[in-house]
């Protein structure tokens, strides 16, 4: 039988968009009695350029709008201020500053993609240790876990907020899905066409 750790991390994956890892971690932290300070969050203009470039890499403009056109970069900054707390503020800025140090914006498109690919792989490794230590089963479960732990890593927050900001924006929804705010019926479909877009309501 799988233990609770697997269950919780799996849930985070399964329902990704709805009940994502940062929210989950925040809840775990609260249970452990560690309540993070909210604080405020703003970016400098040069940091904003990096965030916009990374968002556009995640969701580039194709035949449909990209992240920038859908208003994702200012959305990310606003969400970090309003919905995330100090640990994520710190880890997010650290991530942006690391890209600044690596002169991310001066690189070629392909080199930027390579850097982000690496960042994603590193983050994945890092997240493994997060999930393991944070929700392990046992007495005082969550306590030792969070000590010294930083916020959710930059790339993870960046990716999540880019997808959330884009796929719930007007341009993102209209460019990506079949939007039916009032479907009017419920019908099962047994011969879905291979290029069927998701229905969004």
């Amino acid at each position: 039988m799988l233990n609770r750790r697997d269950a919780v991390s799996r849930i985070a994956m399964l329902v990704g968009g709805v009940f994502s890892a940062p929210t989950l971690f925040a809840m775990e932290a609260k249970k452990a009695g560690i309540v993070a300070e909210a604080g405020t969050f703003t970016l400098t203009d040069s940091q904003r350029k990096i965030v916009a470039a990374v968002a556009e890499h995640i969701i580039p403009k194709t035949s449909t709008a990209g992240a920038i056109e859908a208003g994702v970069p200012p959305f990310i900054e606003m969400m970090l201020n309003d919905c995330y707390k100090k640990p994520e503020h710190v880890s997010f800025k650290k991530g942006v500053d690391n890209l600044a140090k690596a002169k991310f914006l001066d690189q070629s498109h392909d080199a930027q993609v390579a850097m982000l690919t690496l960042l994603e792989a590193d983050t994945k490794e890092l997240m493994k240790s997060y999930a393991t230590s944070k929700v392990k089963v046992g007495d005082n479960v969550d306590k030792d876990v969070l000590e010294g732990a930083g916020g959710v890593p930059f790339w993870r927050v960046m990716k999540e907020l880019t997808l959330l900001g884009y796929y719930t924006s007007e341009k993102g929804i209209e460019g990506s899905f079949e939007y039916h705010p009032v479907p009017g019926k419920f019908e099962v479909i047994s011969n879905m066409k291979p290029d069927q877009k998701s229905f969004v309501y």
């Binding site: 399964l14 580039p60 707390k85």
Partner: protein, 571 residues
């Protein structure tokens, strides 16, 4: 009191109903339809059907934080945050701010989720609707747990049928003793993986699976359309309030029915501080209310009083109604007021991924799932605990959210997330909690901003619940496995509290005598015969099915009794 006669007249009704939620709405409807002039006291603000549902028709991008609670909301709605959904941006306006409405948690936690406005939690409920079975009413007596129910299934059955026809319940008749059928409107469809699951679980484990029974109009009748209600549009944005009146709520159904009699007076912002007891007649003569905004105190008078403020709210009003005769709370000779808090325990089950079914999909957002009725400790099955549990869940295809946990970014990644992902499936248990007199709340010495006592809770799961949870987790995994689903993940959340199910029950229980309970078999306070309690407070046990339908049936039955007694001159 030096009120003049006209003022007293304008504050006098045949009946007062405290609360406009799911049971209060029914009391208002039944009492007005039987000819009584009724005043409903609603402690919260007025919300008008349709125009009051301020977020109902908003597009996803019109929510600043795309649904997420802000840090400020998370802090202010601290109890709501434990549910993971009530403080979401789209429907937060219908829930109470916990910081402004504090309560005390002693030893263990208690999740008290409140909704103070017209219709109360009837606007926000899960709409899952199940009859209790025969055994549910017998178990307490057979097992010597709590107090025996003085009523049985047959007492409630005609009233179940009566309220179902009016409310409109969609579901599939199955002929099961464990989950008696309702009077159904057409059932909603199951998806292909759900049909596969149902067949596999039935064949391999002998457990029936049915589509959820839900208070949505799938085929409205005249009794529904006459009230302006129409068919479900499958948006699944119910908790924002339904502009189509497609699901049953006080606003869509019972209050409009009461209003058309011209005998209903709605009084909003009216917090009932206490029920006024008349020592001479040994009856209640009215209520004292506090205007939540002006803090003005006012009295209203009536021949009968229905207390429908939600289990905790109703009970706290009774506790706060002190007199010479009842120094410990109205009708509280048994000292049972506030005890035996029950709910359904949840946060335990299993999820999995489904291989195949690539060509299967669905159009519309079904506000419903599947239901697996109780099978434990039923028939020949005997476990190391008593009572049982049911499951709710279902299958769906992943949306763009799957991208958060997936590798990749860029044009191809972007395009891939515009198509439906793989099927996933999950089931969570709803377990029966036993009545325990030590699970209780009391009035503390601290006062809220209206000068009323702040409530203090002390409630914890017992051994029976903890044992049951093992089965709830393991059985869910077993059923997903029987269906051949992959990546099965079973979970048993340890940080849940009583109250998380938002099915509070039991704090003014029904029983066989004034010595063991607060109300008799007619939901009538044993020795204060013109006071009736017909919400979750009156429950002597919890069953494992969602409770609202039983409150509806009990309320209609009690209202019928009350009016007959009134006409006989007994009240």
């Amino acid at each position: 009191m030096n009120l003049n006669i006209d003022a007293i007249k304008s504050q006098t009704f045949d009946a007062i109903v405290i609360g406009s939620g799911i049971s209060g709405g029914w009391a208002a409807k039944e009492l007005t339809e039987k000819g009584l002039k009724v005043a409903v006291m609603e402690r919260g603000r007025e919300i008008k059907h349709i125009e009051g549902y301020e977020t109902a028709m908003k597009n996803p991008w019109e929510f600043d934080h795309r649904g997420r609670p802000t840090n400020m909301a998370a802090e202010e709605y601290w109890a709501g945050m434990r549910t993971g959904y009530t403080p979401a941006e789209e429907h937060r306006y219908l829930f109470e701010n916990d910081k402004q409405n504090p309560y005390i948690e002693k030893k263990g936690g208690f999740d008290w989720i409140r909704a103070y406005h017209t219709g109360g939690k009837s606007l926000l409920w899960g709409r899952q609707t199940y009859r209790w079975n025969r055994e549910d009413f017998l178990a307490n007596e057979k097992e010597g747990i709590g107090t025996p129910w003085p009523i049985g299934y047959d007492d409630l059955a005609p009233w179940y049928s009566y309220v179902e026809k009016f409310a409109g319940i969609s579901g599939q008749a199955e002929g099961l003793d464990v989950l008696p059928d309702s009077d159904f409107l057409p059932a909603m469809q199951m998806t292909a993986p759900e049909v596969h699951f149902k067949n596999a679980v039935d064949k391999k484990l002998g457990r029936p699976v049915t589509v959820g029974r839900v208070a949505h109009l799938t085929k409205p009748g005249k009794q529904h359309t006459d009230l302006g209600r129409s068919s479900c549009n499958y948006r699944n944005k119910c908790m924002r309030g339904c502009p189509y009146g497609a699901y049953f709520s006080s606003l869509s159904a019972t209050l409009p029915a009461a209003q058309r009699t011209n005998r209903l007076t709605m009084i909003h912002n009216a917090i009932v501080a206490e029920i006024i007891y008349d020592e001479k007649s040994q009856k209640a003569k009215g209520v004292r209310v506090i205007d939540q905004n002006t803090l003005e105190h006012k009295e209203y008078y009536a021949k009968i009083i229905f207390v429908n403020a939600g289990a905790i709210g109703s009970t706290s009003i009774m506790m706060n109604s002190k007199s010479n005769r009842y120094q410990n709370g109205l009708g509280n000779d048994s000292d049972q007021l506030g005890r035996n808090i029950m709910d359904h325990h949840l946060g335990v089950g299993a999820s999995a991924t489904v291989e195949g079914f690539e060509k299967d999909y669905m159009f519309g957002n079904r506000p419903n799932g599947l239901y697996i009725p109780r099978y434990r400790n039923w028939g020949k099955d005997k476990r190391g605990y008593t009572r049982g549990f049911g499951y709710q869940g279902g299958a769906s295809r992943e949306g763009w959210g799957r991208g958060v946990g997936q590798d990749g970014f860029g044009a191809q990644f972007k395009e891939s997330l515009t198509h439906p992902g793989q099927w996933t499936v999950g089931f969570g248990g709803f377990g029966e909690i036993l009545p325990d007199p030590n699970n209780r709340f009391t009035l503390s010495d601290q006062k809220d901003k209206w000068g009323l006592p702040i409530l203090s809770f002390e409630a914890n799961f017992g051994e029976n619940e903890m044992k049951m949870r093992q089965d709830m987790m393991n059985d869910a995994a077993e059923m997903l496995e029987a269906a051949g689903f992959k990546n099965i993940n079973a979970y048993n959340g340890q940080n849940t509290h009583i109250g998380l199910g938002i099915h509070e029950m039991g704090t003014a229980r029904m029983g066989t005598s004034v010595k063991n309970s607060i109300v008799n078999k007619h939901n009538q306070v044993h020795e204060v015969k013109n006071v009736f309690m017909t919400d979750g407070a009156a429950m002597a046990s919890a069953s494992c099915v969602n409770p609202s339908l039983t409150y509806m049936a009990m309320t209609a039955r009690a209202a019928d009794f009350a009016v007959r007694e009134l006409k006989k001159g007994n009240l």
